[in-house]
C-alpha cells in the first residue's frame, strides 16, 4: 500500500477531516513534550483522528493489513517520547474522543473517552461533590487516556494513589483490532487483572477507547501550609518528621531557592525570597482532623528549623500558594532558555543525600539545577537549566542526568516515578532489570501484541524486541525446558 492509498483508505474510515497526512500537518506529531534532543523525533505516515471506538478498531485493522505500526497519542504532553512514532506508521490521536459519558454519584465513577482533559473531568465532577485524584502538572492539557497509558501521578497521589488506583475498567482495542472490556463496574471479575497490565503500559498492549474511573469524594476541609527553611536538608528532615508522626498529607511538595527565584517574581505566590527551600503541605479530611493535624505539622516544621510557617485555609489563599508550584516549569524561562526535567524516585530516607548529590552534579557539570518535586513520596524532579544554542550543552545535560540516574538506582530508587520509560530511558532499563526480568515483561507484550505493532521501540532497550532477539530467546527457553517444538 503506497502513501496515497493509505490516506485514501484512512479517509474512507474517518472522513477527509479525520486524517492528517501533509508534512506541515504532521510536524507537531513528530514531538511530545520532551526537550528536543533528549528523545528522538520521528514523522508518522499519517495521523488518524477517530471519534468512535469502531473507527479506532478499523484503523488498527487497516494498519495490520498494511503492515504498519500504530502509536496511540493523547495531548502529546508526555516527557519520555512515548507518543512519538519511532518507526513511522499511523498515529491514532484520541483527542476527538473527548466526551464525559457519565458521572455516577451512586457508584462514584466516571465513564470517559480517552481524549477527555484530566482537569475537565475533575471540574465536571466538582458539583457532584467529587474529583478525579490523579493530577499531573500538565492536568490542564493532558488526557485521561494518556494518564492511563503512563500511570500518571501528581502532587495528590501521596495520599490518593496514582492512576492505576483509580481505574476500574477499560474498553480496549487490541492489536488485532478486536474491542474488549477489561475490569468493569462490578469488582471481582474472573481471570488475570488485565486492567492492571494495561495501566502504565505506554500504549504497547492496547488502545484505550473508554475508561471507567473512580471518583473521590471531596474532603470536608482543606488547609495548605507553607513552611520556609534555610536549606533543603532542613526541609527534608521536616518531611521525614511529618511521615514519622503518622501523618499522610494530601500533598507534600518541595521547592528550592532557584525555583523560588524563578517563580516568586513571576507569580507572587508569597514564597519568601530568602528561603533555601519551601515546603507546600496540603492536609485534607474532616474539619476537626485537619485543624489538629495542621497544628501538629506546623510544630514539626518549626522543630526541623522552619523559619516561617503560614497556613492558608481559604480557597483563594490556597490557590495562590499552589499557583507558584504549578507554574514552576513555565517560570523557568526566566532563568534559562531551555530546561530538561528529570523524573526519578528514591526511598524517602535517601532524599537528603540524593539532593546533595544533585547539588554536586550541578557543580561538576556547571549546570544550574532547580528542584521542584513531590518530596512526600521521594519523587525528584531536578530541572537542568541550559541554553541549547551553546555548543555541547545538550550533551552535558544528558551526561549529568546519566550520573543522577545511576545514583538514584544505586540508593534503591527507580528510573521513573510518573513520566514513563518511552525512548528516553529505555536503554537504562538494564540498570534496574536483568535479562530475565525483561523477558517476563516481554512475555506480557507478546501475549497482547505478538506481532509487536503497537508502539514499537519503547520501554525495552534498543534492539531487545526485534524479531531476531525474540527468536533467540524462545530457542534458549525451549532448550532450557527440554522442548524443541516451540
Amino acid at each position: 500500500m503506497d502513501h496515497a492509498g493509505l490516506v485514501q483508505r484512512l479517509e474512507r474510515i474517518l472522513g477527509p477531516g479525520g486524517v492528517f497526512h501533509r508534512p506541515g500537518d504532521l510536524l507537531v506529531y513528530e514531538y511530545d513534550g520532551s526537550v528536543d534532543g533528549a528523545v528522538d523525533t520521528a514523522r508518522p505516515a499519517a495521523v488518524a483522528l477517530p471519534t468512535t471506538t469502531e473507527q479506532v478498531a478499523a484503523v488498527v485493522k487497516l494498519a495490520n493489513e498494511a503492515g504498519l505500526p500504530v502509536v496511540a497519542r493523547g495531548a502529546g504532553t508526555g516527557l519520555s517520547g512515548g507518543a512519538v512514532a519511532q518507526q513511522g506508521g499511523i498515529i491514532i490521536s484520541l483527542t476527538r474522543m473527548d466526551r464525559i459519558l457519565e458521572i455516577d454519584r451512586e457508584d462514584r465513577t466516571a465513564l470517559v473517552e480517552p481524549g477527555v482533559i484530566n482537569l475537565e473531568l475533575s471540574e465536571t465532577a466538582l458539583p457532584e461533590g467529587f474529583f478525579f485524584a490523579p493530577d499531573p502538572s500538565s492536568q490542564k492539557a493532558c488526557t485521561v487516556g494518556g494518564n492511563v497509558a503512563e500511570n500518571s501521578g501528581g502532587p495528590h497521589c501521596l495520599k490518593y494513589g496514582v492512576t492505576t488506583n483509580h481505574v476500574l475498567g477499560l474498553e480496549v482495542v487490541l492489536p488485532d483490532g478486536r474491542v474488549v472490556w477489561t475490569g468493569g463496574r462490578a469488582p471481582g471479575g474472573s481471570g488475570y487483572d488485565l486492567t492492571a497490565a494495561m495501566v502504565g503500559s505506554e500504549g504497547m498492549l492496547g488502545i484505550v477507547t473508554k475508561a471507567l474511573v473512580r471518583l473521590t469524594p471531596q474532603p470536608e476541609s482543606v488547609v495548605v501550609l507553607l513552611a520556609a527553611f534555610g536549606d533543603m536538608d532542613a526541609a527534608s528532615h521536616a518531611v521525614s518528621g511529618i511521615i514519622a508522626a503518622g501523618i499522610v498529607p494530601a500533598a507534600l511538595e518541595m521547592m528550592d531557592a532557584l525555583t523560588i527565584e524563578a517563580v516568586e517574581p513571576a507569580y507572587h505566590a508569597g514564597y519568601p525570597m530568602d528561603a533555601g527551600a519551601v515546603l507546600l503541605i496540603e492536609l485534607d479530611g474532616p474539619t476537626g482532623d485537619v485543624r489538629e493535624t495542621a497544628d501538629e505539622v506546623s510544630t514539626l516544621c518549626r522543630q526541623a528549623g522552619a523559619t516561617e510557617v503560614r497556613t492558608a485555609s481559604e480557597k483563594a489563599e490556597r490557590d495562590l500558594l499552589w499557583k507558584g508550584r504549578k507554574m514552576a516549569l513555565a517560570a523557568m524561562g526566566r532563568l534559562a532558555p531551555n530546561y530538561y526535567l528529570h523524573d526519578t524516585v528514591v526511598p524517602r530516607s535517601k532524599l537528603p543525600a540524593t539532593l546533595r548529590r544533585v547539588g554536586e552534579v550541578s557543580k561538576e557539570y556547571d549546570l544550574p539545577i532547580a528542584n521542584v518535586f513531590h518530596a512526600g513520596d521521594g519523587n525528584l524532579h531536578p530541572l537542568m537549566l541550559f541554553d541549547r544554542r551553546r555548543k555541547g550543552s545538550v550533551e552535558r545535560v544528558l551526561e549529568a542526568s546519566h550520573d543522577l540516574l545511576h545514583y538514584c538506582v544505586e540508593v534503591g530508587g527507580a528510573l521513573s516515578g510518573e513520566h514513563g520509560i518511552g525512548t528516553e530511558k529505555r536503554d537504562y532499563m538494564t540498570l534496574v532489570f536483568t535479562a530475565d526480568d525483561l523477558a517476563a515483561m516481554a512475555g506480557v507484550k507478546n501475549s497482547f501484541d505478538p506481532r509487536g505493532c503497537f508502539n514499537p521501540e519503547k520501554l525495552f532497550p534498543k534492539g531487545y524486541m526485534c524479531g531476531e532477539v525474540r527468536a533467540l530467546r524462545a530457542q534458549a527457553m525451549a532448550q532450557k525446558l527440554g522442548i524443541y517444538a516451540l
Partner: protein, 419 residues
Amino acid sequence: MPSDHSTTATSPASASPPLIDGRVPGQVVAPLDGREVAEALATLASDGLVVAPVGGATALGLGNLPERLDVALSTANLGGIIEYEPTDLVISAGAGTRFGDLQAVLADHGQTLPIEVPRLADSTVGGLVATALSGPRRLGSGTLRDLLIGISVAHPSGTVTKAGGMVVKNVTGFDLPRLYHGSLGTLGVIVSANFKVLPLPRSETTVVAGFPSAGDALDAASRLYRSPLQPVALEAGRFESGWFASARFEGRDQTVRAAAAEAEHLLGGHAERFNAEESQRRWESYLAPQVIETTDDRPDLLVRCAVRPRDAVSLVQGITRVADERRFTISYLGCSMGLGTVMVRGVFLEGGSADALRALQERLLAIADHVTILSAPPDWKWGLDIWGRPPETLDVMRSLKEQFDPQRVLNRGRFAGGI
C-alpha cells in the same frame, strides 16, 4: 518427582501434606530460597508434573478442582522480613511470612497494612497476593493491589524475576506486580513482595445497628453511604442474631466520635457503639464466616456475588429470592455498600449436590455480574468453573499463561476458564 531433587528441604509445613480440594499431593517440597523454587519448578516442568504453591494453607479450597496434582510447594522456608524502613513507609517480606508476624513488626512502628481476610494471622504474604481476597475495609483502604509496589517471582523457566521496587511511585516497566496479584500462583510462585504501608489510625470506632428485616438494614446502610460521612467499611447483612447495618470509622479520636454519633443517628434502630478494641474484635468475628473451607463432611457453601455498587441492594433481594427457590438456607450474608459485593454462606436444605450447586450458580449469574464459588465440597466442583462466566479476554489470559508457564506446571486447571 525425581529422587535427586537436592533442593527439597524438610520443614514443619512439609510434615503433613496439605489437603487441596480433598486431594493429597504426593510430595511436599519446601525450597530455601527463590533460586531453589525456580530450580524445583524447572525440574517439575521437565518431568511433566503439576505443582500447587502453598502458603499458610488458609485458602487452599479456592479454585477449580485441580486437573492434576503431584507436588505441593510450600513457601514455609521463604518467610521473614527482608527490608523495612519505617520512615520510607515500605516493607519487603518473604512470601512465606505469616501476616500476623508482619503486622506485629509494623505495629511496633505504628504502621499497618490495612488488609483483612478470615484467619489473617495465619495467612502468608504470598498467599494474600496470589488470592487477592479482601474484606469490608476495602471501601476506605483499598486492597493489597493498591499497596503492592514490588515483587519477586520464580518461574517454571527456571528464572527468578523481579518487577516494581521499594519506592511508592514507580512506572519503570510494565506493572507486573499487579498482574500477579490475584493470579492464584498460575504465572509463577511469589518469592517475596514489597508493600507501601500506612500509619496506624489514631483511633477507631464501629457503630452496629440491628433491624427486623433485610430491607430496613440495607436502607439504613444506603442512607449512611449517601451522607457526607466516610466510613472505612460499611456493611449490611445477616450475621449472628439477625439483620444489621454497620459502619467503621478511623481517624483522630474526636472526629471518629463525632462521626459515630452522626452514624448512630443516620442508621436509626438500636445502634450500639464499639470502642477501638471492641471494634477490631467485632470485625474479626464478622469476617470469620468468610473462611474458605472445603471438606466433604462440611457441605456448606461460600459464594461471592458482585454487581455495580448502585445495584447492591437489589442484588441482596435477588439472592434471597434465588436462595428460597433453590431451597438454600442462608446462614450469613455480608453486603459491602459502595463496593457491590455480597458474601453468602449457607447450606442446601436437602443436603446438596453437584447439580444443585450448578443450578444455584446459574441462577445467581442471571442476577449478578460476577459469581465466585469461593468454597464448596470438592465433590460438587466436578466440571464446574467456580469463577463463573469466562471473561471475554480469556484468549489474552491463555496466552499470558502460555508465555509464563507453557507446560502448565502451576495450579493446572484451577484458575478462571480452566487456566
